[in-house]
């Protein structure tokens, strides 16, 4: 149900973006708004159709869940599982053929953790700058989250630091973002 709700939310966000474009088009001149409106209106109609479908599917799924909750506990059909063990009422979760504990999906929390780490990367780039922030992120993410060895983590973050400094900044002349700290240091100098 939560996944269907999320699917509805995704379609809803797209609908809001399209609506925002339509609203923002009205103050524009007739030439500038011509194509945006010509694209946004059919897109909005298609999205409304898709959103309606998502809502209907979510309702059907919710109804099926409720009916499932009122029914007696389901039996696991797997012989390897004992054939008669009580299966947990968790949607889309297989018994796992012999495993005593059900595999509870932890997909959602992992998504949050992953996006959290991407946020850390963004913050490090803004604060410490590109040359220090990216290798620092790599070291922390590999070591803390994935529990990779110190050797692998240091080696890879060192290689990235070298690529940024020697490859991009020195050889190709790409100026790396100094970050807030880099800006302070520059000002102090």
């Amino acid at each position: 149900v939560r996944s269907r709700g999320e699917a509805t939310a995704v379609a809803g966000v797209m609908l809001m973006v399209t609506l925002a474009v339509i609203v923002a088009s009205f103050p524009l001149g007739p030439v500038a708004r011509r194509l945006p409106l010509a694209v946004a209106i059919p897109t909005l109609l298609l999205l409304a159709f898709e959103l309606g479908r998502e809502v209907r599917l979510a309702r059907e799924r919710h109804g099926a869940e409720r009916r499932g909750a009122e029914a007696p506990p389901a039996q696991c059909p797997s012989a390897a599982c004992g054939g008669g063990a009580t299966a947990p009422r968790i949607p889309n979760v297989q018994c796992g053929g012999g495993a005593s504990a059900p595999r509870i999906p932890r997909r959602h929390s992992s998504e949050r953790v992953l996006f959290g780490w991407i946020g850390v990367l963004l913050a490090l780039v803004v604060i410490a700058g590109m040359a220090a922030g990216v290798p620092l992120f790599l070291l922390a993410y590999m070591r803390v989250h994935f529990r990779e060895s110190w050797r692998a983590s240091l080696l890879l973050s060192g290689a990235i630091a070298l690529l940024l400094a020697a490859g991009l900044q020195y050889l190709l002349g790409v100026p790396l973002h100094p970050g807030v700290i880099g800006g302070w240091l520059e000002a102090a100098r």
Partner: protein, 502 residues
Amino acid sequence: MIEATAAAAVEGAAIAFSWPNILYPLAGTLLAMAVAFLPGVSGVTLMALALPFTLTWEPLPAVLLFGGLVGGATFMGSVTAILFNVPGTGPSAATLLDGYPLAQQGQARTALGCAALSSALGSTVGVLLLVALVPFMTGAILAFGAPELLLLVAWGLVAIAVITRGGIVRAGVATGLGLLLSFVGHDPVTGELRFTSGTLFLWDGISLVPAMLGLFSIAEMVSLGVSGRESISGVGTADRLTGSVIAGARAVFQHFGLFLRSSVIGTVVGAIPGIGGTVASFLAYGHAAQSAKDGGRFGRGDIRGVLAPEAAHDAKDAGALVPVLAFGIPGSDATAVLMAALVLHGLAPGRELMTTELPLVFALIWSLFLSNWVTSLLGLALVSPLARLTAVRVGVVVPLVLALATVGAFAEQHRVGDVVIATVFGAAGYYMKKHGWPRIPLVVALLLGPSLERHLHVTLRLHTLDRLDLAARPLLLLLGVLLAATLLWPLVARRGRLEVGT
């Protein structure tokens, strides 16, 4: 005329393949291949960087070097598309549709082998067609005005929406959203600012590189991170990877007709200025999907889905030279820099270049040809070590690709805002992938949106001035028919399947 062209082609080959001239395209190729793995630094960036260094050179070495730079980056963009679902260039986006699923099934070697051979042979067909058609192509290119280009871009967008998995409604929505995002920034006619929310950063619109890095690489890494897989291919060690280079190379000869047709599509579409390789690759992919008699497993790992766009992608490089050399109209960023290099060395594109300097023009074409073969042969030699990357642990791949994507998003225009754009597109791409929304139509629409709008404005202006005579434009009618047929194809195919089912 034909004899003179053939003689110039032979003379050009003698110039390009003689010692030490051959070193220039080889050096350009190796440089482009090496840089293609650096995030955010495309072959175009390298060409732009090389421009000032070659100013003091004679025209010939410079022309040969630039031919090598153009060809070198093409295949490497497809390598990252197959291995990591990250298209190195716009046209490589068509390769990932089936290339990445093959890599996920542990068959990266097959996909890379097929891509390498298909690219090399595709460029050969492109060059041979170019040599044969140079005397006639200039007239054909002039037949493409703004209305024809408008329909061609629209056809490309519709073909992509129709062939993408996930349903035509969702593909239509993704195309619409991509177009709307491409309208952010200045209006091309009035200069009015649109959808920038008063932000200076958005005045030039949304850059394609951070959007692509977000939609594909960041989204893919989040998806891989939460999937619980050991690695991209799902196996812990490279020894358990299946597939072989030979099987991939054999696929090119098994589907030789498709390969030839895709190469012709690439050369012809590549020769049309302002369209670029993305439409060529997707039209070839669409042709492969539509012409497959067995229905195929397109989108789930069909080798023909790698073969067709790769052949078209490399064949278009040769075709793309025609409008640059004959009219001075660059069809892409790479050909624009190439044209700048020619002009800086006193070689003005146009009739004179195509007559008195024809051997030099052919030296450039052969340099491109050599570069495509060297890239593909090196690619074939590197297939096994490259395929091993799909067996590297998630704990290494995810942090590394996220870091490289961040650097790549920043490197193009040196703006931290682009890193934010990449992150936003990363989140959008992840949820789109999770809930079955196709991302390819969005990114292609983002790429082709400005071109669509520009040609629409000119077409409408022609119509207002009563200078749009449909009877005098048979090409326009032909493109209209092709567009309508592509739109109706899903209905016909569905009805056919129903009849077969009953």
